[in-house]
Symmetry: C2
Subunit: 385 residues, 2 copies
């Protein structure tokens, strides 16, 4: 049915999922509004990149057939007017730039200066950095909106366009955000248990007979395990049986899906927070622990899905953050000047987390493929309707 | 302060606006959830365009410096691998495509087939068409998310990235959606009057002394005036004084901002619905009236701002809609096949409207520039932080 995105809501199962998704989204707002968090709309189009390793989409008007930036608003014949008249689009235009601008030492900057925003801009992969500037001014905040990753990824738990809930909490540490995020997920699940009984019964009878057990299992207390302990657990499993995991286990690796699912579905049989990751597998903005090797960060893994939520304390020491930015971004560090200024001009300790909302819908419905819990899934080669 | 988007929330006025914006957003969800509307996440990346005249942003991975679509997942040397190795980005790559693909008869389709989605895709300017497919399946629905227009526009009421609330109501006609949208706006304004008293007092004392009058004026009953009557009113004003309007008035024009503000601020001094517009200034999906010249559409204009909301009955007669699509899109009609199928495979009469959420924040705060009511405004040449 996935190729009939426009007609599939007429099926019972997509109807059930849609009603649950709608209630979960409302529960997100209810939870944070009840705690007096401010809802902030972080930007979708951005120059920055919160996670430098993520692949991003470029947003541009340079490839439009008849796009004229100055659109009747100027009588001078500009580059844009020339573009409009140019039939061999977009190749001629680009060749023309190529010849006229910097024929030898070509830099992207000269190319994008003719673009709508006069610079290369991207679809956001996270609104965290922008959210932090509101947290540092107005205390606790959250956002809920779309995010994007241009990964060539066909798994059952990845989308190129997905919805994310993020929050930043002042004066909170790692333990605080583990507690808050646990409460948050349980609040959403209980809301749907209360308001979608008929839909869940339908799913239990026709699609996933264990859906109520799946949800209830996510309502028990969550475990909290140190990354180092986790590596020991995984090593034990791989010592017990050769080639138990495809990817080898050693302290310092980023956990792959097979590791995550072993922990949640086989070993712990429960949602589990893993915390204090090695700093080199995590992001530049996370607070370094006193051991200098790990960061104060956590991921929440749940059975069948793996990672559903991740968070950290934010590095609030200007000198350390500044070094991290230089190491990470090199010549592009300039773009993060305003982020550093949040520390420079009066700051507070703060922490935050981000939830993959579509994965929460998977958890609350028992549906196995993320492409079935969002109305119009976007993934490589697919953007129908 | 606008150039310090990351620090300006530390000012009192941006704090007030942020708290009001957050409550208005929650009021949007409360209003529709109380009426049992389903919240639907319509896609941000789309091939379609609801308003064919809107300028759109293209979303692409073709301009990324080191983007490799197949990213280590294939050993064949593909186009993408060649791109990755290519230093003269993006010009060489494009020239290469130019030479290898269709050297004579170049079509955009051959260019974008190497893109992430194998086609040219855009940032949405409206989720209406996708929302309609959910309304036709699951009854009343709404959406609330970002929308985009690549207009080279510097006015105080336009953004390239803005937030929009849209809804579709089954078995509703034009009068129903005028009533519902009036209730909706008043509900949101009353919610903020109740929850943001201190913020509004601050605004009244320091920025806009009439803010309470502005809000109260939008809580009286709204007028409903036929487009034809409106043209008579405008003609009278322009006959009375030569060159009263810059743009001349005649039946069939699209109203410009000066016309709108004359109606709301001078003539009616009240919010006013204008309905039954000439079909050629409105969209292909709007229901044609029996006079064959006008469509069953309405815009809500409010003092100081102009248009804040627009809606229509949707054309549910397959043959008429099909003719409209062919006339409007020509060879691109194929893309709207699925929209037509909503009528083909069982349909219901339905109507809907869309609200510019940022303009609602302008109305509820008395703030004159739309760039000050959104955390990180995006407009031509500007995408900071």
């Amino acid at each position: 049915l996935r190729d009939l995105s426009h007609l599939r809501p007429r099926s019972n199962i997509i109807g059930c999922i849609s009603r649950i998704r709608s209630n979960l989204a409302f529960a997100v707002h209810l939870f944070f509004q009840n705690l007096d968090f401010l809802y902030i709309n972080t930007p979708i189009i951005t120059k920055c990149n919160c996670e430098p390793d993520d692949e991003q989409f470029t947003v541009t008007t340079l490839l439009e057939k008849n796009y004229s930036k100055k659109n009747n608003k100027s009588n001078n014949t500009t580059m844009f007017d020339l573009e409009t008249k140019n039939k061999n689009y977009p190749f001629k235009i680009i060749q023309q730039n190529y010849n006229e601008n910097h024929p030898k030492n070509l830099e992207s900057i000269s190319y994008f200066k003719n673009d709508f925003f006069e610079d290369q801009v991207y679809l956001t992969s996270s609104g965290q950095l922008e959210l932090e500037s509101y947290a540092c001014a107005l205390s606790d905040v959250y956002s809920f909106g779309p995010a994007f990753r241009a990964e060539y990824n066909f798994t059952e738990r990845h989308l190129a366009e997905f919805w994310m809930v993020e929050c930043e909490i002042c004066f909170a540490d790692l333990s605080d955000i583990m507690s808050l995020s646990e409460k948050f997920i349980k609040f959403c699940l209980n809301y749907t248990l209360e308001h979608n009984k008929a839909d869940l019964n339908y799913i239990a009878n026709h699609y996933e007979k264990n859906v109520f057990e799946i949800i209830k299992n996510a309502c028990f207390p969550y475990l909290r395990v140190n990354y180092t302990e986790v590596i020991d657990i995984l090593l034990e499993a791989s010592n017990f049986k050769k080639n138990f995991f495809k990817e080898s286990v050693t302290w310092g690796i980023s956990l792959s899906q097979e590791h995550e699912l072993y922990l949640t579905d086989v070993y712990f049989k429960s949602p589990v927070f893993i915390y204090n990751y090695p700093k080199r597998v995590k992001s530049f903005y996370m607070k370094i622990n006193d051991d200098q090797e790990t960061v104060s960060a956590m991921d929440l893994l749940v059975p069948r899905i793996g990672e559903i939520l991740g968070g950290s304390e934010r590095e609030d020491r200007l000198n350390i953050l500044s070094d991290n930015v230089k190491r990470e971004f090199g010549i592009n560090s300039e773009k993060y000047k305003s982020y550093l200024e949040l520390r420079k001009f009066g700051t507070v300790p703060h922490s935050g987390f981000g939830l993959g909302f579509d994965r929460l819908v998977m958890l609350a419905t028992g549906i196995k493929n993320i492409k079935d819990v969002i109305p119009y899934p976007r993934y490589p080669d697919y953007s129908e309707f």
